[in-house]
């Protein structure tokens, strides 16, 4: 019983951590897109990956706030996908390949 409560607390913490990271990542991405400047630190992608991993782990553990966990995971995935899209397609649109 005690273990189950501890596990629940841990997953809730992970879920909150993933959601928080996702919110910060998404906010900074929005700012960067709006001002059209690269404001990301070099470790930005690691933070995104950390957010995704913690979200996935929280999803597999029992958590009361499944909605928040999924939303946090989605935010981190969207941030990563946007960055990858910008990098890949920027190379694709190239007058002198």
């Amino acid at each position: 019983m005690e273990l189950a409560i501890k596990g629940n607390k841990f997953s809730r913490l992970l879920s909150l951590f993933s959601f928080g990271l996702g919110l910060i990542n998404l906010l900074s991405l929005n700012i960067a897109i709006s001002i059209q400047r690269n404001i990301f630190p070099s470790y930005y992608l690691y933070i995104v990956i950390l957010g995704v991993i913690s979200g996935v782990i929280a999803l597999f553990l029992k958590t009361n706030s499944k909605g928040f966990t999924i939303l946090g995971l989605l935010m981190n995935l969207l941030t990563g996908l946007t960055i990858i899209c910008i990098i890949v397609f920027s190379f694709s649109i190239n007058p002198s390949p």
Partner: protein, 351 residues
């Protein structure tokens, strides 16, 4: 009076079976119950009011806590969803312009813009190494540095900023001066400006190089043109090609560069420029709207021009040449030259 007796009397009262005396007695009994009922109603109302005005503090606390939680989670979800809109639109824009790699919409836009400038502006080339592109929300912008050759050097003419909003090119801001006719068609010769150009060339100092737009009396092939100008020390830069459109004063001359451009340009050293010119026309056929907006010429008629050139072949009636100013005076001695227009003049930069 016990319960059964009372019920019995109540039924008889309802059915009007009681005697007068019994009825009066029973009504007195009922009055007692009415005042008892009023008392009970009053007590229960007091209890209810008490419960509402002083709820237990524990319940209230948990109620408030739940309310706060719901507000915060709703706000966070709304913020998260709102923050997702811009990245999703950005992904859409990048995929829209970048999907297809070499044949992507963005690359086609760059190629069409550069090709249109190369074939509609005499002696103008786009610097492919320095094209700056920027994908915004549902739009793509491109900055094109345009150069013209005078003497041996490339001179920066201007920078064109073109925007593609979804699939529509925005009208460029620049005012075109090159819309003015620089060549006269052999079938519709305009007033000759050769004497004026001669005067200008004679008055220019010896150590200069110039750019001259030369019109010819008939249609020639590339080889014939090279033979005509073989005795003069000059470079041929651009050929004006007969498109079959003779009497439209607003019509811009269409032609192709005489010299090979950048490896990424449509006029590179892989094939003869005349063949590449036909390929460019075929490509621009698909993007006629873009080409017309870029040149600000709604009557470019690329489709008709392509058909005409396919049927008649490439017939050249004008050239852009550059060379030492005094050397260009010899153009007067060539009988095929009907008209001249002076372009740019620069300080000496020749072989």
């Amino acid at each position: 009076m016990d319960k059964e007796q009372f019920n019995d009397l109540l039924n008889k009262y309802k059915q009007n079976k009681l005697s007068k005396e019994e009825e009066i007695l029973f009504e007195k009994e009922l009055d007692k119950y009415e005042s008892y009922q009023d008392f009970l109603d009053g007590e229960s109302e007091k209890d209810y009011k008490k419960t509402i005005s002083n709820p237990p503090s524990k319940h209230m606390k948990s109620l408030n806590k739940g309310k706060r939680k719901a507000i915060i989670s709703n706000a966070l979800m709304t913020i998260a969803i709102a923050l997702m809109i811009l990245p999703m639109c950005t992904i859409f824009s990048f995929v829209y312009y970048g999907y297809g790699i070499a044949d992507s919409r963005g690359n086609n836009f760059i190629q069409v813009a550069a090709d249109t400038i190369s074939i509609t502006e005499p002696n103008a080339t786009v610097d492919f190494q320095n094209i700056r592109t920027n994908v915004g929300l549902f739009s793509m912008e491109g900055d094109f540095d345009i150069y013209k050759q005078i003497g041996n050097n490339q001179k920066h003419l201007r920078t064109d900023n073109l925007t593609l909003f979804l699939n529509k090119v925005d009208q460029p801001e620049r005012l075109k001066d090159f819309n003015a006719q620089k060549f006269s068609h052999p079938e519709n010769p305009s007033l000759s400006t050769t004497n004026d150009v001669n005067q200008q060339l004679q008055n220019l100092p010896d150590g200069t190089v110039s750019e001259v737009f030369v019109s010819l009396d008939a249609f020639y092939s590339e080889e014939e043109i090279k033979n005509i100008f073989s005795d003069i020390e000059l470079d041929i830069l651009w050929y004006a090609v007969n498109t079959g459109i003779v009497d439209d004063t607003k019509y811009t001359a269409i032609g192709y560069p005489a010299q090979d451009g950048d490896i990424n340009s449509s006029f590179n050293n892989k094939e003869e420029n005349s063949k590449q010119f036909i390929q460019v026309l075929n490509r621009l056929n698909k993007y006629q709207d873009w080409a017309e907006t870029i040149t600000q010429n709604r009557s470019l008629n690329i489709n008709e021009v392509t058909k005409f050139i396919d049927e008649n072949g490439i017939e050249i009636y004008g050239v852009v040449v550059t060379g030492p100013t005094k050397e260009l005076l010899k153009l007067n001695e060539i009988p095929e030259v009907t008209n001249q227009n002076l372009g740019g003049v620069e300080l000496w930069n020749w072989r």
